[in-house]
């Protein structure tokens, strides 16, 4: 039996190691010490999850549940636990610091941790979760407790991503990086990949339909000029405002997976039924959107949102908000994976599938732009069609499942900016744990302030630090991790669009808000009013103009 301490120690090394190479070395050294089932579980735990990517299990425990378990194990009262978490900036890290250096229980084995996390995933009641967490924490040293709770909260934040882990597996067992990356993608599991690499049988891992695959993600650009040099190689598509999904289909069976690799087939029965009619076995990448059949164009995300979170929609919902799948990539066809093929070749396969479907499959339109000016025009046209912006794909790009690279770019422009005042702040996560980096902000409504959104980034660490000191001074009340602050700090926020929403007091919500800059030059007298917001909403939610006849999608005939 290998102790979990080995993994926690390795993660601690990774966290403090400078540079990717050292991080890879630390991970590889830990992997080399494991074999068999322990290697499978160990590799998963080192990459931050007790489960394989394809497993749909999730362990979750609320802040209060973790805090109560920590209180029971450490003997400190909840108020002290809360104060410690705020002082340290992370609950898991704080609880770790409160645990004894030598835990009294028997040492935690890697298999024990696996079993406890798996049981935790089956529990629904907070009290049961708490009891199990107590069992786990009683046997944990400070560094073990810290990483167990970080794993539970869904992020190790040690500066190692999935590529780092693939490199570590390759380094540990002398395998080819490409072979490791392919095996991980096809198996959806770093654990099985690590074992196969150790046993020299990476080639035995094969792609299977109905086994979720990671999504290839796009990096953002701010302006057309950034990609000017690449334009001849870029395919341009509208960026749809829906839910990214993979559709697996074989014979009459269809399964839809969301970006979190959760199955969403039951939520979109009409989408599954339509895809079942398309001939062939395939895996398509695309977007589920709310669909305006009469105008043959996607509706806003806000409409689709009404269908989210429901298991199976009733007939009324299906009639009111029909959904459709717009395909834009083909990752497997006739049982053969196409990940290594160039985008252009994959798109040809997609066109062929659509052609055989005689109208049953919606495809994204593909444009080309020769100059940044043409790209600007394509962007405006996409927005006129009610879409979010553009996605730019290198025509020679392979499909890098589960990774965000620069082969794909996305371009969303802010609709406008608003000057708003900060009304509450809380500590950020990850690199910004411990810093007051998350701001809730408001606009003016007569002599009141009404919240309209919350944003997380856009300022430099330096600015956040300086503002943090000011926010601590103007704190009026504290609710757990949130500090209400006197409304005096004015910031300028950009956003993609503006929607009606019951979430905020203003009755509106900004989609993808981000802080553009501080406005020390402005006071609360200068900030936007609720009337400004109403006017902006009227403008951005207006019907598309003349260009709206072209929908950004096409149906093959």
């Amino acid at each position: 039996m290998t102790a979990y301490r080995l993994l926690a120690g390795a993660l601690e090394e990774v966290a403090s190691a400078r540079g990717k190479l050292r991080k890879i070395e630390s991970l590889a050294a830990a992997l080399r010490m494991l074999e068999g089932d322990e290697l499978v579980v160990g590799a998963r735990l080192l990459s931050g999850s007790p489960f394989a990517e394809w497993e749909e299990a999730v362990t979750s425990a609320g802040w209060a549940t973790v805090a109560r378990a920590a209180a029971a194990v450490t003997g400190w009262d909840l108020e002290t636990i809360g104060a410690c978490a705020r002082a340290i900036g992370d609950l898991g890290e704080a609880v770790g610091l409160l645990l004894p250096a030598e835990p009294p229980g028997t040492a935690l084995g890697i298999a024990d941790v696996d079993a406890l996390f798996r049981r935790l995933a089956t529990l629904r009641k907070a009290a049961e979760k708490q009891a199990l967490l107590e069992q786990l924490l009683r046997r944990a040293s400070p560094v073990e407790g810290k990483y167990l709770l970080k794993t539970l909260s869904g992020g190790l934040r040690v500066g190692a991503d999935v590529t780092t882990m693939e490199d570590a597996i390759a380094e540990a067992f002398g395998a080819e990086r490409e072979a490791v990356a392919r095996a991980r993608r096809d198996s959806g599991d770093v654990g099985e990949t690590a074992r196969a690499a150790r046993e020299g049988r990476l080639d035995a891992i094969r792609f299977r339909l109905f086994h979720p695959i990671g999504f290839m993600l796009a990096s953002p650009i701010e302006e057309a000029a950034e990609v000017a040099g690449e334009l001849p190689l870029l395919a341009v598509e509208d960026k749809f405002d829906g839910i990214r999904a993979h559709a697996h289909k074989s014979e009459s069976r269809v399964t839809l997976f969301s970006r979190t690799l959760d199955e969403v087939t039951e939520q979109f029965p009409e989408v599954a039924a339509a895809l079942a009619q398309v001939p062939g076995d395939f895996l398509l990448d695309g977007e589920i959107v709310a669909w305006r059949a009469a105008e043959r164009r996607p509706d806003s995300f806000f409409r689709l949102q009404k269908r989210l979170g429901r298991k199976a929609p009733g007939a009324d919902v299906l009639a009111e908000i029909p959904a459709a799948f717009i395909a834009y990539d083909c990752l497997a066809s006739g049982g053969a994976p196409l990940f290594e093929e160039a985008w252009s070749a994959r798109r040809e396969r997609l066109d062929a599938i659509a052609a055989a479907a005689t109208g049953g499959l919606l495809l994204s339109d593909v444009f080309r732009a020769a100059t940044p000016e043409e790209l600007e025009r394509a962007f405006d046209a996409a927005r006129a069609r009610g879409n979010e912006g553009l996605v730019l794909k290198r025509v020679d790009s392979p499909y890098q499942a589960g990774k965000r690279g620069k082969l794909w770019r996305k371009w969303k422009k802010a609709a406008a900016t608003l000057d708003v005042v900060v009304t509450a702040v809380e500590q950020g996560h990850g690199k910004r744990a411990g810093m007051l980096s998350d701001y809730t902000f408001a606009v003016r409504d007569g002599d009141r302030f009404v919240n309209i959104g919350k944003a997380y980034s856009g300022l430099t660490d330096e600015e956040i630090r300086e503002l943090g000191a000011r926010f601590r001074k103007i704190t009026t009340e504290r609710y757990g991790p949130v500090r209400a602050v006197a409304p005096e700090v004015v910031i300028e926020v950009a956003f993609d669009t503006i929607q009606k929403s019951a979430r905020h007091k203003s009755g509106f919500a900004l989609r993808f808000p981000r802080i553009v800059r501080l406005r020390p030059d402005k006071t609360i007298a200068d900030i936007a009013s609720i009337d400004d917001v109403r006017e902006l909403h009227r403008r951005v939610s207006g019907e598309p103009g003349a260009a709206g006849s072209d929908t950004g999608t096409k149906t093959t005939a």
Binding site: D90, A433, G434
Partner: protein, 335 residues
């Protein structure tokens, strides 16, 4: 507001007042007479009319305020001054060179101890903290939460030395972010004992004569003005120099952050440091509790840092405790 300060102290808008000696304790603004626990700028502002402090604190205060026209009353550790029925003594606080706790005694054996900043971990460049008995303890609580547990002297020194040796072995200059008064000289002494020479930034080197006069000569140290760090040497700069050219122009460097706050991983992002060493000049939580026990205090007033939390924790253990009201505000600025 707080009830435990009387009869020795009064909480006034200008700060803590000692009526028997007509003086303020570490007042945040210039006062006619100030009793200074130590010479850090947040405790010893410029411009007092008269200061009472240890000789080392006075010397550092004069070094930092060369044109100061005021008068001084040096008090050696343990030396007694009595006035209007009260007795005043300074006891070593172990925080930095010259740091003192202020003990005030009165009728019937009643006494109050004001710690100023203190640490109980033994140090190489200042006297160890004492724990004179007092019924009332006014204690700093910078690290007044149980998450703040620091390693002992040997473990800390070993971590610092090993980290610097590793950096030097990799051909990098160890850059230590350490406050100019206290932390820098202490770190330099630790490295000197391990045979690692240090280069001290101006603000810290400026105090070398005061350290030498007090019996801490800082061997193997030299001033940054005499030239940048050469291979084999470590550079010590104040934390606010971390992003200045002094550090930035060192192409191969490894930055160490020396502070109690370094136990938080967030400190890595906040300081851009490569190595976090919880090398503090303040008492950690267990030492704060130990100090309460050893002074035999039955009433505690917490100030600075996590004062309210520390008072609550003591109260739960059956010790009468309260937080000094304005300390919450100062904590927020320091944290």
């Amino acid at each position: 507001m707080t009830s435990f300060l009387a009869p020795f102290l009064e909480g006034r808008p200008e700060g803590l007042f000692v009526p028997a000696f007509d003086a303020f304790l570490d007042p945040p603004a210039p006062a006619a007479r100030a009793i200074l626990s130590h010479a850090h700028a947040d405790h010893a502002v410029a411009g007092h009319g008269e200061i009472w402090a240890t000789p080392a604190t006075i010397a550092i205060y004069r070094r930092r305020n060369p044109d100061w026209p005021g008068t001084e009353r040096p008090l050696a550790y343990g030396e007694e001054v009595s006035q209007r029925g009260a007795t005043l003594r300074l006891h070593s606080a172990g925080h930095v060179l010259g740091s003192a706790q202020v003990w005030l005694g009165g009728a019937g054996g009643d006494a109050l101890l004001y710690t100023g900043d203190f640490k109980r971990r033994p140090a190489r460049t200042c006297a160890p903290a004492e724990a004179p008995r007092a019924r009332t303890l006014v204690t700093e609580t910078t690290f007044g939460l149980p998450v703040f547990r620091f390693p002992g002297k040997d473990a800390l020194e070993e971590r610092l030395v090993a980290g610097c040796r590793e950096a030097l072995g990799d051909g990098e200059t160890p850059v230590l972010l350490a406050y100019a008064l206290g932390k820098a000289q202490e770190a330099a002494a630790v490295l000197a004992a391990a045979g690692i020479p240090t280069v001290l930034h101006g603000a810290a080197w400026k105090l070398a004569p005061e350290y030498a006069a007090a019996g801490y000569p800082l061997p193997l140290s030299r001033a940054y003005e005499t030239g940048p760090a050469a291979p084999g040497e470590a550079l010590l700069v104040p934390p606010n120099c971390a992003r200045t050219p002094v550090v930035r122009k060192l192409r191969r460097r490894r930055v160490f952050y020396l502070s109690g706050w370094a136990i938080r991983e967030a400190a890595r992002a906040e300081t851009d440091a490569d190595v976090l060493v919880p090398f503090s000049d303040h008492a950690d939580f267990p030492d704060l509790v130990r100090h309460v026990e050893e002074t035999g205090a039955s009433r505690v007033v917490a100030t600075h840092g996590y004062a309210a939390d520390f008072a609550r924790i003591l109260a739960a253990r059956g010790i009468e405790a309260e937080a000094l009201p304005e300390s919450a505000e100062r904590a927020a600025e320091e944290a």
